[in-house]
C-alpha cells in the first residue's frame, strides 16, 4: 500500500477503476458478502447477483421486494427480505426457503457452524444444525441486530434497552442474561477475540461492553447515525462510519476507555457511510456518501489511496475476496466496481 494519490481527482478515473470493471445496474445495492473468491451482492429489487472474476451472474430472483440482510453459511448465501422470507442460496443460484413470516420482515440473518439464525419482529428463529424446526427466542422489543461469537456458543441480540446475551451450555440449552443501556440498539458485533460486544444506537453513538467484567461505555461525538462499523486487524481497532472521518477506536490492551480514537480524514468533508476491514492488515476501506472509496492504513493516515472516485451515490457495500486479490464496491445508485487490488507487477 503506497501513498500515490491523496486527493479526489476531478472526474478522473482512478487506476483501480481503469483496470476494473464497472456495472451500472441502477438498482440500490443493499448488501455484499464474500464467499471464497466470489462476492454475492443483494439489491433493492429483491435480486442477488454473484460476482467473480470480473463477471456478474444472471440476477437470482430471491425476494419480492428488497434484500434486507445477508450473511453466509459455508459456501451458501443467507438472505432475509421484506417478503418475510429467510432463504439459503447456493452460488449456482439454487434457492432453499428456510422460513417464511408473511407480511413481517426478516430483518437480520446470521450463521455459525451450521446453526442458522434469522430475526423477525421481536423473535430470534434459531435452526440448530440439521434441525427442521427452529427454536424461538423471544424478546421484549423488535430486534435491532444479532451476532454469534466466534465459537457459536453465544448469541448477542440487540434491542430497545440493551442487549440480550444468550449462552449455550454443553447440553445445548440456551439461557440469557441482559446487558442494559438506555435507548434503542441497532447493529451488534462481537470483537473477533470475543472480549467485547459493540452496538450502534438510534442516537449518534456506539456502546460497548467488556464481557469479562461487564464494564461498559459509550463512544460518541458523531454527526450521523453509525450504520457501518467493524473490527480491524484481529481486534486492535474498531473502525466506524457516521462522521466525516473514519473514526477508529483502540480496542487493544484495556480497550478504548480514556483513550482517543484515530480519525482518518478524507478530502471533501463527506460523510463516511461504510467501513470494511482490509483482511490481515491494520487498514480499512472507507466508503463515503458521494460514492468515493479510499484505502487507509489506520496508524499511518498519510498512506491513504483513492480506489474509486465519486458517483454521487452513497457507498452501501464493500467486500474483498478471500485471496485479497479483488474487491467489490456497491452504492445506492446501483453502481458496482469490481477491481484488482494489487498492481499487476506486484503479482
Amino acid at each position: 500500500m503506497k501513498a500515490d494519490l491523496y486527493k479526489v481527482p476531478e472526474l478522473n478515473k482512478t487506476k483501480f477503476e481503469n483496470r476494473g470493471k464497472e456495472f451500472k445496474l441502477g438498482i440500490p445495492v443493499t448488501n455484499a458478502v464474500t464467499i471464497g473468491n466470489s462476492i454475492a451482492v443483494g439489491f433493492g429489487d429483491g435480486t442477488v447477483r454473484i460476482f467473480s472474476s470480473g463477471q456478474s451472474s444472471e440476477p437470482i430472483k430471491a425476494h419480492k421486494g428488497i434484500v434486507l440482510c445477508m450473511s453466509k453459511d459455508g459456501d451458501n448465501i443467507l438472505t432475509g427480505g421484506d417478503d418475510g422470507c429467510f432463504l439459503k442460496i447456493s452460488l449456482d443460484g439454487k434457492i432453499n426457503e428456510i422460513g417464511n413470516f408473511g407480511t413481517r420482515w426478516v430483518d437480520h440473518v446470521t450463521a455459525n457452524n451450521g446453526s442458522l439464525v434469522c430475526t423477525s419482529g421481536n423473535i430470534v428463529y434459531l435452526w440448530m444444525p440439521n434441525k427442521k424446526e427452529p427454536k424461538l427466542l423471544e424478546h421484549e422489543s423488535t430486534i435491532g441486530g444479532v451476532a454469534f461469537d466466534s465459537k457459536g456458543r453465544k448469541l448477542a441480540v440487540s434491542r430497545y434497552g440493551g442487549v440480550t446475551l444468550w449462552k449455550k451450555d454443553y447440553s445445548n440449552k440456551w439461557t440469557s442474561s441482559n446487558l442494559i443501556w438506555k435507548g434503542s440498539h441497532n447493529k451488534v458485533i462481537f470483537s473477533p477475540d470475543d472480549r467485547y460486544l459493540v452496538t450502534s444506537m438510534q442516537e449518534n453513538q456506539l456502546h460497548f461492553w467488556r464481557l469479562k467484567d461487564k464494564i461498559d461505555s459509550a463512544m460518541s461525538g458523531y454527526g450521523a447515525k453509525i450504520k457501518s462499523f467493524a473490527f480491524v486487524d484481529d481486534s486492535k481497532y474498531l473502525a466506524t462510519s457516521g462522521a466525516n472521518d473514519a473514526v477508529c477506536w483502540p480496542f487493544d490492551g484495556d480497550g478504548p476507555v480514556g483513550r482517543e480514537p484515530i480519525c482518518l480524514p478524507y478530502v471533501g468533508n463527506k460523510l463516511v457511510t461504510f467501513v470494511e476491514p482490509f483482511p490481515n492488515e491494520n487498514a480499512i476501506l472507507t466508503g463515503l456518501s458521494d460514492g468515493s472509496v479510499f484505502l487507509s492504513e489506520i496508524e499511518k493516515a498519510s498512506n491513504t489511496i483513492i480506489i474509486r472516485s465519486f458517483t454521487e451515490f452513497e457507498v452501501s457495500a464493500i467486500a474483498v475476496t478471500k485471496d485479497c486479490s479483488h474487491l467489490l464496491i456497491g452504492d445506492m445508485g446501483g453502481n458496482i466496481l469490481w477491481t484488482s487490488i494489487w498492481d499487476e507487477e506486484k503479482k
Binding site: I66, L68, D82, T142, K225
Partner: protein, 324 residues
Amino acid sequence: MEETNKQVPVTVLTGFLGAGKTTLLNRILTEQHGKKYAVIVNEFGEQGIDNDLVVDADEEVFEMNNGCICCTVRGDLIRILSGLMKRADKLDAIIVETTGLADPAPVAQTFFVDQDVADRTKLDAIVTVADAVHLSTQLTDHHEAEEQIAFADVVLLNKIDLVDESGLEVVKERIKKINPFAKIINTTKCGVSLNEILNLDAFSLKRVLDVEPDFLTSDHDHEHDDDVTSLSFVSDTPLDMEKFQDWFSKLLQTKGQDILRTKGILDFTGESDRYVFQGVHMLMDASPMGKWPEGKERSSRLVFIGRNLETMNLKEGFENCKSA
C-alpha cells in the same frame, strides 16, 4: 422538513377502533390506480387490506436520549421507512395505519428527529377518522382520542348518517375546541375525495401560511382540567425577536410535555420577512418565509394546542414580547 422533491410523502391514519380506518385505507388503495403505495399496519383490522405491499409492524415508542425530555419516536417506523427507501422502484406514498390507542406525537416526532427518515420521507398529514356517534364518549374516556384530534390535520367525521343534525354540531364544536386547525370532513363510509386527504403537505411551513384556523367564538369552558384545548393570540404590534425566542424556548423546555402542537406566523421588529414555525411538543421547525405580502397588514399570530394551557401565562408571556 422543507425539501420536497425527493421525499416520499407519508400519510398517517389515526382513529379509534371501529371508526373506519380500514375502510378509508381500502378506498385509497382501490381508487388510486397506477400509483405504488406501501401500507404499514399495526393492527389487524376487521377487514383485509387490498394492496401488494403491506408491512406488519408493532408500534414501538422509543425514548430518545437527546436531552429533549418528552422526545419519543416510533422505532418501528424508523426501521420500516429506512428499509422501504432501499427499494428499486420508487413509492408514490406511504400510508401508516396506527392502532386505535396510538399517540400521534411519537409518529410526528420521528420525522423531526431521525435524519434518515427526514431526508428521504416527509410527514404529509395526520388524518384522524372519528366516529360521529361515539367520538364524544371516547374523548371523555380516553386521552388518546383527544390527542388524535389534537394532532389531526384532517378529521374525517364518519358515520354522520347515524347522528342527527344537532348531535353532529355538538361533535364538531368539540373537535374545533380541541383543534381549530383541523379540517373537518363529514362522511358516511369514509366517502371522501382523495385529494382532501392525500398530498396535503400539512407539515410544511408554507402550509402554515395557507391554513386559516377555524376558531370558535365561544369561550373556553371545558369539563376537565386535563382536557386538550387551544389558545390563540394575535398582535398588530411587532415583536422583539430576542424576547420572543427567550420566552418561547423556555416555555417549550418547561411545558413542552403539555403543549401538543404550536403554529405561528411572526412579525419581528426590523425584519422584512415573515417568520413561520410549527412544532410538536418540544420540537420545532422554523424559518423566514419571504416578504410580507404587499398591501396586507403585518401581524403576529400564534396558536397553541395542549393541556393546562391556562396555567402557562401564555397571554402575559406573549404580550411581553411586543417591542417597546
